[in-house]
Symmetry: C2
Subunit: 496 residues, 2 copies
Amino acid sequence: MNPDSQQTTPPQPGAWRGPMLFVVAGVATLGLGLLAASIMERRVETKIALQPKTIGQPVVDSANWKDAYPRQYGSYAATEESTSHTKWGGSYPRDLLAEDPNNVILFAGYAFAVDYKQGRGHVHAITDPVETKRTQIKEQPATCWTCKSPDVPRLMQELGSPAAFYAYQDKEGSKGGFNDLKEEVTHPIGCADCHDPVTNGLVITRPALKEGFAAMGKDISKASHQEMRSLVCAQCHVEYYFQPEPKNYLKFPWDKGTNVEDMDAYYDSVGFTDWKHAISKAPMIKMQHPDYEVFTKGIHAANNVSCADCHMPYKTEGGAKFSDHHVRSPLLNIQNSCAVCHRSSEAEIRTRVENIQDKIAEGRKHAEAALAKAHFDVAACMQAGASDEELKAIRTTVRKAQLRWDYVAANNGMGFHAPQECQRVLAMANDLAQEARVSATRLLATKGHLNPVIYPDISTKEAATKVLKAFKDSKDRPDLLGTGKAWPEAAAAPAK
Amino acid sequence: MNPDSQQTTPPQPGAWRGPMLFVVAGVATLGLGLLAASIMERRVETKIALQPKTIGQPVVDSANWKDAYPRQYGSYAATEESTSHTKWGGSYPRDLLAEDPNNVILFAGYAFAVDYKQGRGHVHAITDPVETKRTQIKEQPATCWTCKSPDVPRLMQELGSPAAFYAYQDKEGSKGGFNDLKEEVTHPIGCADCHDPVTNGLVITRPALKEGFAAMGKDISKASHQEMRSLVCAQCHVEYYFQPEPKNYLKFPWDKGTNVEDMDAYYDSVGFTDWKHAISKAPMIKMQHPDYEVFTKGIHAANNVSCADCHMPYKTEGGAKFSDHHVRSPLLNIQNSCAVCHRSSEAEIRTRVENIQDKIAEGRKHAEAALAKAHFDVAACMQAGASDEELKAIRTTVRKAQLRWDYVAANNGMGFHAPQECQRVLAMANDLAQEARVSATRLLATKGHLNPVIYPDISTKEAATKVLKAFKDSKDRPDLLGTGKAWPEAAAAPAK
């Protein structure tokens, strides 16, 4: 035997690889096993979580859902604390007349010129409409309650039909049913507005949305779960109006579609007008909050993202994953909302959103300034003696311009839900308002007035409110022409 | 010994797991090994590919780069075949005057009203400017060649300075240097415009971009490789003008920034005007193609995507990965371009882009119509006897409106590179144009003309060209006021 063979062979480079590989494989397998076990456990948990729970009575009181869904209830209750995101200075709720006094002029003769605040969180849904001056200065129909409480579907059932609810009045001579129902409608927007108390699943509780879909030839009962995560919101976050016949019947103006042009054409086709403008006497439409309509035109909708995905994102507490019912601006919750899909820092996301909103705000400002001037231009024509016949086409243009502006201005999200569409619509609004001004300028000239219209100071809420009051009060109307002469009697009569 | 112990124990459930795991681990390890080997091999290949190659002489001839970079050269050569994407009907190059006859009116008095076609691919960079009527109807300065050929940096060096090139004239009495240099400038945009022939890396060959950065206090030599992948494009795809002093010196109007307002303010500050409008006599600015400026305002730039990422995306042939030098619309190459980041079908991506472009087109249409009318409104004032002094402010407003419209209209991508910004700018353009019209309407009235201006037919290129010709030809100016009287002599004089 060669003694050399007794020598220990030095380890070959890489000889450790075999055992090492085995250890790595072992650790990996253990890890996979634990992961699989965790997944299986989570699936069991989820199945349990998805089983319907029994809800306490009455189900219209959200507190009775608390035991079954403590996390969802807890986050829902947090809507009491809603705040504006920091950009708007923290004053809450925002006074939209003080923030933008043009609103006083644009809504002249309508309750929004008197009180126009940012809506608060869902738990304030009873308090806010009772406290706003809009329901105090004028008796409002029962229909105004439709979106405020789960008591409403209950009342519709008790009264026998939605129509009976919308037309409700409890005493002879009552001019509206809003105050008449104060004692019946007491629970703010809550669980039962969107959830079936038996299956606990999502459900459409308001007839107007179903009817709106049907009018477009769509069957809402075929909506997927993901679609329902937007549609429960669309029960209320839409443009709507109260039909004169059936009395105060709530309807979405969707018969021709949900583009702003479609809704404009619809209102024209039924000859509907919300109010006569106190300054220009134009027949106006107030857009409410066409959030769903705008949202469907945007990129998030195109990618099948639902309202809930951003405004009620999933959240984990302990081992439980649930939808955060503290409905609010995603900008107050970027990490759980936007950042789930968008891999950017919170600061970057915020900047990106605010850049979009700033550009929309700029477009709004242009359109708004043109609209305010257009109302005064028409009034100047009236002061100069122009007839309703002469002003008809101009007033129609102003109506169409403001409807477009309001489609953007009234919708939540500052245009973020569909920036391209909102800018398109604002551009139209501006263009139409300016076209009205060109025509008004020419009409004014035919009446012998060649100087620029003297626009009153509307730079603050107080100043604008003073101007509005002067217009309502026939004898104090501002002298827009600078002639020093009194207004003709017909033109000075109040708008209503 | 208990005979039972001799019995074969039946396999326990799951007893196969041990050997199976070992096999799986083995296969996985083999796979990882192969992957690692492939990665190492690719890295070696890449290192070799990145080593500078020797380029044949003269380097201004792109064919001399072919041996070293056959794939890049081959794709570059394909720019000969560029086509518009299908939406524009396949006519190529698009005639932008026929497609949109408003252009004839908006550029009245400027060469773009005579010939305005879509630019073709890079290999046509010599043919296109020679063939366009824009360089034929008027002698153009040598500066016009700046972006057309790698012969330009060579000539700047041979002539001793960029200034000497810009001011070049080869004979006494020549009114421009463009034709004078035809024999010197013969190689279309190619390799040497963006690549250093020694290092083969990206390089800025044009002084105007360096100077533009310097004017904003930025040092372009500090740009990262990713930034360079946009900046080589920004040498030409920008707004620029020729300074009167130093003679025809190429300058980007970026001293105050690259927002449209910044450039507007810059041009005002230096009192520059491209031409006097043939219809309104307004002092106009032609925006060229502010692609880089617009791009930097968009979401792709915000995410550090470069021009080359979308317009020259990476491509693999055999084992080699290279940048596709067939520069073109990503819509002609969605799979390699957009789809690398955006996980949607080609059809979805196309629809999304076209939706954005359609909305921009709508905003453009509004602004354009208002602008065309504004030019005629000013002309109507002239016909009515308004003085230059009376029209000064209105003409300034028209200038500012059209500069904004053109910032969007002239830039490539139909607004896609920064949709929000483009819509913001178009809204301003429209607003300003309409403000000008309100003022013009009032001025017209002070001259005793209360009827609407009679706008001539400009619905086709031919009709619009006829109108333009009539305006240039003092005796045939259209009767915008419908008075049947001849134009006052001063107003009827040609614009130039």
